[in-house]
């Protein structure tokens, strides 16, 4: 166990990476062996991530220098030049969420995609995406961040076009073009930082920024933040999201949704930790403004949509807006730190967890409906609650959680955000609450259309257990996080918020 924890950061990235290259070969032995390999590798990674999170919460930041004789040896010649992975309470939380969703999405995938040639390659991309997300969570330097950013982008684009239809190719093409553009600008920003400071390590650069900064830093942070905002699907670079949600397989959408939250985490890491020692009020207000507009645009565009997947894509944009509203408020009130700022930050971080669970559940439930009815176009399908009660219950739980209805988890995080942002500007609370009400209206419409009314008379497939189990686990997590929200915030969220608010702890892990 000590070995697992000590080498945990590297192992959590290495397992899905190795599995990604093994699965296409193992797939030759049969579908069951392939599926077993995928699920087992992700379960192992989840276990390592869990152990690592427990260790970090108990003992503080864990640093891992790749290639060093001792993993904690970050500065062999007094200067941090190695690839360094760093795990604190914040990155541990996000990696735990990302890996949990990846594991559940892999289970959901087993029966979702019809067995055909090339499924091994699909799972290779799936595992690469998981490894990329782990890398983005744990990386401690900017260049490795760029590498993992590209891995996530390329593997996502490959999976979006998996159905090989005209529309999925189009969605993948758009995603790829804009991903490559964002990736290049990210690299450009990293290059500026390297040119300015002669180093790539985040903690080391944070130390230098604290000592003095220039306009070059502004240019670098603008480029890097834009790329990460693209990855998270925030306004005004949100337009790829509905396209992708409409065409990609359900399990891929869930993974892309999670990777967008990981992108948001990296943005927060850079804003708080690397540039956290200088005044960040304007940066905070910018995040708050983009978040508020994301909520408005997301829900207003979701309302008139007739395609369920596209509609959920717009809701996902609004949900990202809530996270930005909370964390942006935390950033505004970082210097000096005040109670409502900490509360807003905690609410925003709690909403990352809740968003990943809630959106995944509702999307998986919607896609399970498409699976059992064998229809991609769900117009004309109704009354399914009479014939598939579990799906109706799962969808209802997701609906209530996303809309922030008590006692679900979404209510707790939104309450923390609304009450906190009120102190910054009451209008922000009004926008947030209105968005939440409209979100409820949008999903009630979908629920009525799919599950109530005259029962669907067409033939229905049985929902496989491999689909029901992930939705059941997500539902249980949603309810538990709602009922025991104080415990969850105390145990997981507050340490993560403190990790963001205390850049010195992160910097001290390396230097």
């Amino acid at each position: 166990m000590t070995f697992l924890v000590e080498h945990g950061p590297a192992i959590a990235i290495a397992i899905p990476f190795l599995a990604a290259f093994t699965v296409p070969l193992v797939a030759k032995l049969g579908g069951r062996v392939r599926d077993g390999c995928v699920v087992l590798s992700l379960a192992l990674t989840e276990f390592v991530v869990l152990m690592l999170a427990g260790d970090v919460l108990a003992n503080g930041v864990r640093t891992y220098a790749l290639g060093a004789s001792v993993p904690s040896l970050t500065a062999p010649a007094g200067f941090p030049v190695r690839i360094i992975l760093e795990v604190d309470a914040m990155s541990a939380l996000i990696s735990l969420v990302a890996m949990t969703i990846a594991f559940l999405a892999s289970l959901f995938s087993l029966k979702l995609i019809p067995a055909k040639e090339g499924l091994g390659k699909f799972f290779a991309l799936f595992l690469l995406l998981s490894a990329g997300m782990m890398g983005m969570c744990y990386t401690g330097d900017f260049f490795t961040l760029f590498v993992f950013f590209e891995i996530v982008s390329i593997s996502s684009a490959g999976m979006i076009s998996f159905f090989r239809s005209g529309e999925s190719f189009e969605a993948a093409f758009k995603y790829m073009v804009i991903s490559v553009t964002a990736g290049l600008f990210l690299l450009f920003g990293v290059g500026i930082l390297y040119g300015n400071y002669g180093m790539l390590n985040m903690a080391a650069i944070a130390g230098e920024v604290a000592a003095g900064h220039s306009l070059l830093d502004v240019a670098a942070i603008s480029l890097i933040a834009s790329a990460l905002l693209f990855k998270s699907g925030s306004f005004p670079v949100h337009m790829w999201k509905p396209d992708v949600f409409q065409e990609a397989p359900a399990n891929v959408v869930v993974m892309i949704l999670t990777s967008s939250l990981v992108g948001l985490y990296v943005l927060f890491r850079i804003l708080f930790t690397v540039f956290g020692t200088v005044s960040t009020a304007v940066a905070g207000w910018l995040i708050v403004a983009l978040g508020a507009v994301s909520i408005i645009v997301g829900v207003l565009m979701a309302m008139p949509q007739r395609n369920l997947r596209r509609m959920i894509g717009f809701v996902a944009i609004a949900e990202i807006g809530y996270v930005m509203l909370g964390v942006g408020t935390g950033l505004v009130s970082m210097q000096p730190v005040n109670a409502f700022g900490v509360n807003a930050l905690s609410g925003g971080l709690f909403h990352i967890v809740n968003d990943a669970l809630n959106m995944s559940l509702i999307f998986l439930a919607a896609c399970a409906v498409a699976y059992i009815t064998e229809r991609r176009d769900l117009s004309g399908v109704g009354g399914l609650a009479h014939r598939s009660a579990p799906l109706a219950v799962f969808f209802l739980i997701g609906l209530l959680a996303i809309s922030g209805i008590p006692p679900m988890n979404g209510f707790a995080s939104k309450l923390m955000i609304f009450e906190s942002v009120f102190f910054l500007n009451p209008l922000l609370s009004v926008i947030g609450i209105t968005g939440s009400i409209l979100m409820l209206a949008v999903f009630v419409k979908v629920f009525v259309a799919l599950f109530l009314g005259t029962p669907y008379e067409g033939k229905l497939r049985k929902t496989p257990k491999t689909m029901l189990i992930p939705m059941f686990v997500l539902s249980v997590l949603i309810i538990l996080l709602g009922l025991f929200a104080p415990f969850a915030v105390d145990t997981l969220i507050t340490p993560a918020a403190q990790a963001l608010l205390d850049p010195q702890a992160y910097i001290g892990g390396v230097i």
Binding site: V237, L286, E419, P486
Partner: protein, 113 residues
């Protein structure tokens, strides 16, 4: 955080108290329901939807029409928003460029760095 209370910015939230209150209200509702009439018969007019005293239409109300008035009133805004979402990848790249400019301008002229 103090015990089972989630401290929010200006108050607190206790989900277990909410759950207890919900359970009590549910019991009261069930008691009231049990004192209701027992003359309900399946398959009769009693089971028809209430439609302002008229016979309900043969088809269900289309869910798309649930918020007809609201959607109609917002049509101008949603049409304006929709006009941005052209689906053309050049526009996506343009939005990305605009975002870079906004962030740079805000940070550079906002005196952050």
């Amino acid at each position: 955080m103090t015990g089972p209370l989630l401290i929010t910015a200006s108050g607190y939230w206790n989900p277990l108290v909410w759950l207890a209150a919900f359970a009590i209200i549910l019991v009261i509702v069930l008691i009231i329901r049990s004192s209701g009439t027992k003359r309900f018969k399946k398959g009769t007019d009693q089971t028809l939807q209430f439609f302002s005293g008229n016979r309900p239409p043969a088809d269900n109300v289309d869910p798309d029409n649930l918020y007809w008035g609201f959607s109609r009133k917002l049509e101008r805004y949603t049409a304006w928003l929709r006009s941005w979402h052209t689906g053309i990848v050049n526009d996506y790249a343009f939005a990305f460029a605009v975002l870079i400019i906004i962030i740079f301008a805000a940070l550079a002229f906002g005196g952050v760095l």
